[in-house]
């Protein structure tokens, strides 16, 4: 088997608010079951198959189920049903073997506040059986790589959020795990550090390691990931390479427009313009139009609207992007 990570029909239903580590509660409305406990379905049948040696991204808005998926794969959240494998080990049958394979960066820094940055790395190495020479050597290397050497021997209590995040990532790499999980790794990082992180992730991947990261940042998903799964309301709504996914949007270009008023015949007429693949009404006077052309369409749209005596009030053109893909599948923006 050449999967580094696999899940089958993963479901998670919370009977109370999900743990803070799993991010905000999912957007799906809590249902009341017979015993009057609120039930929140965080994952609703997730099937993943991540090839060894790839960088895989889970893209979705807050509360989509990304952190819960990572939690289940890293032994931190017990699934309601379904199976998860990491490196061929059933995570919930053989936790210790699974834990040996993985390094985890949680969404919120969870550093050991009683220790210094260097000690955090060294003790982490000790938990994984590195001998003391390996520990100090590897800790020094990582501290250097993450530009933490200067403050390596201070307690992390006083570190800024970005520094803590860097220590967390260094710690997860300390025992050189086969599979690295990064839950929203670049949240709270300044742009410069984000680029450093991307570089380090690519470098780590080039050693043949598998990386699974979650993000709600399309740019990051696009720049870093070889394959993506787009997740919303606990379901995977699309997956593939970033290029394939973007190519799958009808037309590619998205024109978001507002008219002074809206008429069904106008929408129909717009749909017949050359290059237009889909027209959707998204509100009182708002229209989303998917097309293979961008700006070149505007004159035709304006003149078509004028023939119905309607003014085009506003238009925004976006090129093929994952944001558009998400919008196309869910009708919502990732940022919402």
């Amino acid at each position: 088997m050449d999967s580094a990570i696999r899940t089958h029909e993963l479901r998670k239903v919370y009977h109370s608010a999900p743990p803070a580590a799993a991010g905000r509660p999912p957007a799906s409305a809590p249902k009341r079951s017979k015993d009057a406990k609120p039930q929140i379905t965080a994952l609703d049948g997730i099937d993943l198959d991540v090839a060894r040696g790839g960088i895989f991204g889970l893209l979705g808005p807050n509360g989509a189920g990304k952190s819960t998926t990572v939690g289940i794969l890293t032994t931190r959240i017990r699934p309601t049903s379904g199976t998860a494998w990491v490196g061929g080990h059933d995570v919930w049958q053989d936790q210790t073997a699974a834990k040996r394979q993985i390094g985890v960066v949680a969404q919120r820094p969870n550093l050991d506040f009683s220790l210094t940055a260097r000690e955090i790395l060294q003790f982490h190495g000790a938990y994984f059986g590195l001998n003391s020479r390996e520990r100090s050597q590897r800790a020094t290397e990582l501290l250097d790589r993450f530009k933490l050497t200067e403050r390596a021997d201070e307690l992390v209590r006083g570190f800024s959020g970005g520094m803590m995040q860097r220590v967390s990532i260094a710690r997860a790499m300390m025992h050189d795990p086969q599979v690295l999980f990064l839950d929203e790794p670049s949240v709270g990082l300044d742009p410069q550090t984000r680029l450093l992180l991307w570089e380090i992730i690519r470098e780590y991947n080039q050693k043949g390691r598998t990386i699974l990261l979650t993000t709600h940042n399309m740019e990051e998903a696009d720049a870093l990931c070889q394959r993506l799964a787009i997740i919303d309301h606990g379901r995977i709504i699309a997956s593939g390479t970033p290029q394939d996914l973007k190519a799958s949007i009808p037309g590619g270009f998205l024109l978001r427009m507002r008219f002074a008023q809206q008429l069904a015949p106008l929408l129909e007429k717009l749909g017949t313009l050359p290059g237009v693949t889909e027209v959707r009404s998204t509100g009182d006077s708002a229209v989303d139009l998917y097309a293979s052309r961008g700006g070149a369409l505007i004159p035709e749209i304006v003149s078509t609207a004028a023939s119905y005596s309607i003014d085009l009030a506003d238009v925004h053109i976006s090129e093929p992007s994952l944001e558009n893909l998400f919008l196309h599948h869910t009708g919502r923006s990732l940022r919402e």
Binding site: A21, G71, T75, R76, T96, L111
Partner: protein, 255 residues
């Protein structure tokens, strides 16, 4: 079980305890020693208490010190680390079964409680000399110290995994304070002969067995609950609290 990981977890706790040694020292010993001084020295010296009270008091103080230290050493870090900071996460991800992470905590607390007990006894002796009459039976003493330390650390696990940060104050005023006052610490169990109902009720308090057990092994000349019952009760509470604690720990650790 992964021995290397277990030892590394223990090494981490020892390292942190060493870093906070001075604070731990004051926190552990100041109050009991002040108590020993006022009640054992001042009150006895001024004639309000009989001289024999010195010998009676010290094993009780030892029990309080050990129980407090063990509970504090296990419960407080757990409460904090399971809360907002989730500091414990890294240790939960160590390649070892989760229950062993909890057992390591208990072992670390047990060691701290034992050290505290074994220090407070000679320190108290220094303050109270002369007039102390100790008849320590070494084997029984060692067994008692281990059982009491285990009770305190397992109790710390059970409490630490069932409390939230905002309830720490409540834990002290509602659980630990009554436990200490009804724990036969400042008086022997036999002193309750005149309060038969209370004398029965305090038997549900594990600290009563801890105090009586240490009394039985340090000052056996005073009346105390029969040693066999004490050993049995302590072993029972050790097992019960450890089982409860491990269950709660699992619940807290896995979402």
């Amino acid at each position: 079980m992964n021995g290397a990981a277990f030892l590394a977890l223990l090494a981490r706790d020892v390292h942190v305890a060493r870093r906070n040694a001075l604070q731990l020292l004051f926190q552990t010993f100041l109050q009991p020693l002040l108590f020993v001084f006022i009640f054992g020295r001042v009150m006895v010296g001024s004639g309000y208490m009989p001289p024999a009270y010195k010998s009676l008091l010290l094993p009780g103080i030892m029990a309080i010190t050990m129980v407090f230290t063990g509970i504090w050493a296990v419960a407080m870090p757990l409460i904090a680390e399971f809360q907002w900071t989730r500091e414990i996460e890294d240790r939960l991800l160590a390649p070892i079964e989760i229950s062993w992470v909890a057992i390591e905590k208990v072992l670390a607390g047990l060691i701290q409680a034992m050290i505290a007990g074994l220090i407070v006894l000679p320190l108290g002796q220094l303050i109270l000399r002369p007039g102390l009459e100790f008849n320590i039976s070494p084997a029984l003493f060692i067994v008692m110290v281990i059982l009491v330390a285990a009770f305190s650390a397992a109790g710390g696990l059970a409490l630490g995994c069932s409390m939230d940060q905002q309830h720490i104050g409540l834990m002290f005023s509602m659980v630990l304070t009554p436990m200490i006052f009804f724990g036969c610490t400042y008086y022997p169990w036999s002193a309750l002969d005149k309060f038969p109902i209370l004398q029965k009720i305090v038997l549900i308090n594990p600290l009563a067995y801890a105090s009586e057990g240490l009394r039985a092994s340090v000052v056996p000349q005073f009346p105390h609950i029969p040693t066999g019952y004490v050993l049995l009760a302590l072993a029972f509470f050790d097992g019960l609290l450890l089982a409860m604690g491990l269950r709660q720990f699992q619940k807290k650790a896995v979402g």
